[in-house]
């Protein structure tokens, strides 16, 4: 679609869109600005958008006060691992549901779909009890495993394989390959776009997940970024410059990911959201 010639109404549209963009970005600008201020400058009125004496002291303060680097590392490890497991198990199960006929297939698939109706909060108490019995409090497996499986991804991949023509696979079958080999050599490659969409969703959900990590971690060394930030919130209630430094550290990685994966995120969301 080519851009057409400008009309008078276009300037009004730009003005509204521009105002909207300022409203969306100003909180982030303010967050960065405050994080660079000294304690006194934080409470100066009128507020300074650009700090007169910028400092990185709040960042060093935060890294000294809490294991911020550990929070980051935990978040990365937990999100990446659960995303990998999620993508792999969903693709395998989606392929099995689409290609292999077996007794009870429909019932099991409906049981999967039924879990989509149940809000996550319903599972919190039993999950906590199970993890406590296993003595898995403050462990990576407790942070990772509950967000490593899902009906949504299985459904997404099952639909993908159902729409995929079987011809390519048929040839491999003729050569005597089994389902497992065909899935790993052909099925996985063909599903790359669907897998990328699922990976982006799974990663963002895990990265931003708060309630479950809040419940299952009490040890600072095991906290993820959101839980660590919430912990800071309780500790530095009025040190806004320090809290904003924490918010910057918590925000930057995901915005960096977003800048690179923007197309995948927005288009993946728009297309899967409607189907």
């Amino acid at each position: 679609m080519a851009d057409r010639a400008l009309r008078p109404g276009d300037y009004a549209t730009w003005a509204v869109l521009g105002l909207g963009a300022v409203i969306m970005l100003l909180p982030f600008v303010w967050m960065v600005s405050t994080s660079l201020k000294t304690g006194d400058a934080t409470f100066v009125m009128p507020p300074q958008l650009i700090p007169s004496a910028p400092t990185l002291a709040n960042y060093s303060k935060i890294f000294a006060a809490v294991p911020m680097a550990q929070f980051l590392l935990n978040s990365v490890f937990v999100s990446v691992t659960s995303t990998v497991i999620m993508v792999l198990t969903c693709a395998m199960a989606g392929y099995a549901f689409a290609r292999i006929k077996f007794p009870g297939r429909e019932i099991i698939f409906y049981a999967y779909l039924a879990t989509l109706m149940i809000p996550q909060q319903v599972t919190l108490v039993p999950l906590f009890v199970i993890m406590t019995w296993l003595d898995w409090g403050n462990t990576y497996q407790a942070l990772i495993l509950p967000s490593s499986f899902g009906a949504f991804g299985t459904f997404l991949l099952r639909q993908f394989y159902l729409r995929l023509p079987r011809e390519v696979e048929e040839a491999a079958f003729m050569d005597g390959a089994g389902y497992v080999r065909i899935f790993f050599t052909i099925g996985l490659q063909l599903a790359r776009p669907a897998l990328a969409t699922l990976a982006v969703f799974a990663f963002m959900a895990s990265w931003n997940s708060f309630l479950w990590p809040l419940i299952i971690t009490s040890d600072q060394s095991m906290m993820t970024l959101p839980v660590g930030l919430s912990f800071l919130n309780g500790r530095y209630t009025t040190d806004w410059n320090v809290l904003m430094a924490g918010a910057v550290i918590g925000t930057l990685p995901i915005i960096a990911v977003y800048v690179f994966a923007q197309k995948y995120i927005i288009q993946g969301l728009a297309t899967t959201g409607l189907k």
Binding site: V122, T154, F210, A247, I266
Partner: protein, 294 residues
Amino acid sequence: MEGVTGRGKYVALAVLLLPSLVGMGAFYILPIVSSLVLSFTKWDLLTPVQWIGVGNYVAALGDPAVQQALRNTLTFILGYLPAVVAGGLGLALLLNRKLKGRTVFRAIYFVPVVTSWVAVSLVWKWLLNPQYGLINYGLALIGIKGPGWLFDPNWAMAGVIMTTIWKDIGFVTVIYLAGLQEIPENLGEASSIDGATPWQRFWSITWPMLAPTTFFVTTISLISSFQVFDQVFVMTGGGPVGATTTMVQLIYKNAFSYGQMGYASAISWILFALIFAVTVAQNFLQKRLDKSDG
């Protein structure tokens, strides 16, 4: 694909399906069933489980805290839902005009969607600070004395609502943009030849054709309205005097502060019932609307 023998098929199932089955069983099915059973018991994790039938449900429906959480949710929905849907639709309509820079705007509106709720809540808590916050400063510039926001029981929910609209509006915009792209362009052109104003064109063509999108967006937003937790936990902790307490917060408090596992489970099933009812009602409405359109 009939070439695979019975035995080979079950080996394939064991490799491909079993990991998912075990995971779904352990982290979804088992907890869901246990939660339902627990909701009919009294249990503090330490003493033996005690069967009390529907006792928790009866207690929850009479619990002033639950009633307050439900009222708060209703307030939240009334403030949040129309604004986020109308705002998102408005932005999508503007972005749908083939203007330079629209992909940049779309990208900007989406930034809050990807940002974690905890970070966003911290920033807005600071923006809404009554004395030094940017929002009350801005209001003072135009001669308005801003309220105490999160410290004022009458204004705390408004602060939470504003924050949530800001975070979610980009999501609604992107979904509506996808819906708008499905509308054939020549439909709009044909009626503009007939002399219809943009306003008439919107109500006679765009809005009806966006109905599925509107249903989708409304359902998703309604469901998430019942599940509000992160922003409230960070911004207000449910206060002041319970003005922003939500259902999920009651689940969290009862289970992990008061050790009432059975009661917390019952509240989570009441939450499920509410979400389920909303979804069913939405589906019913959509079907009726589809029919009346012929």
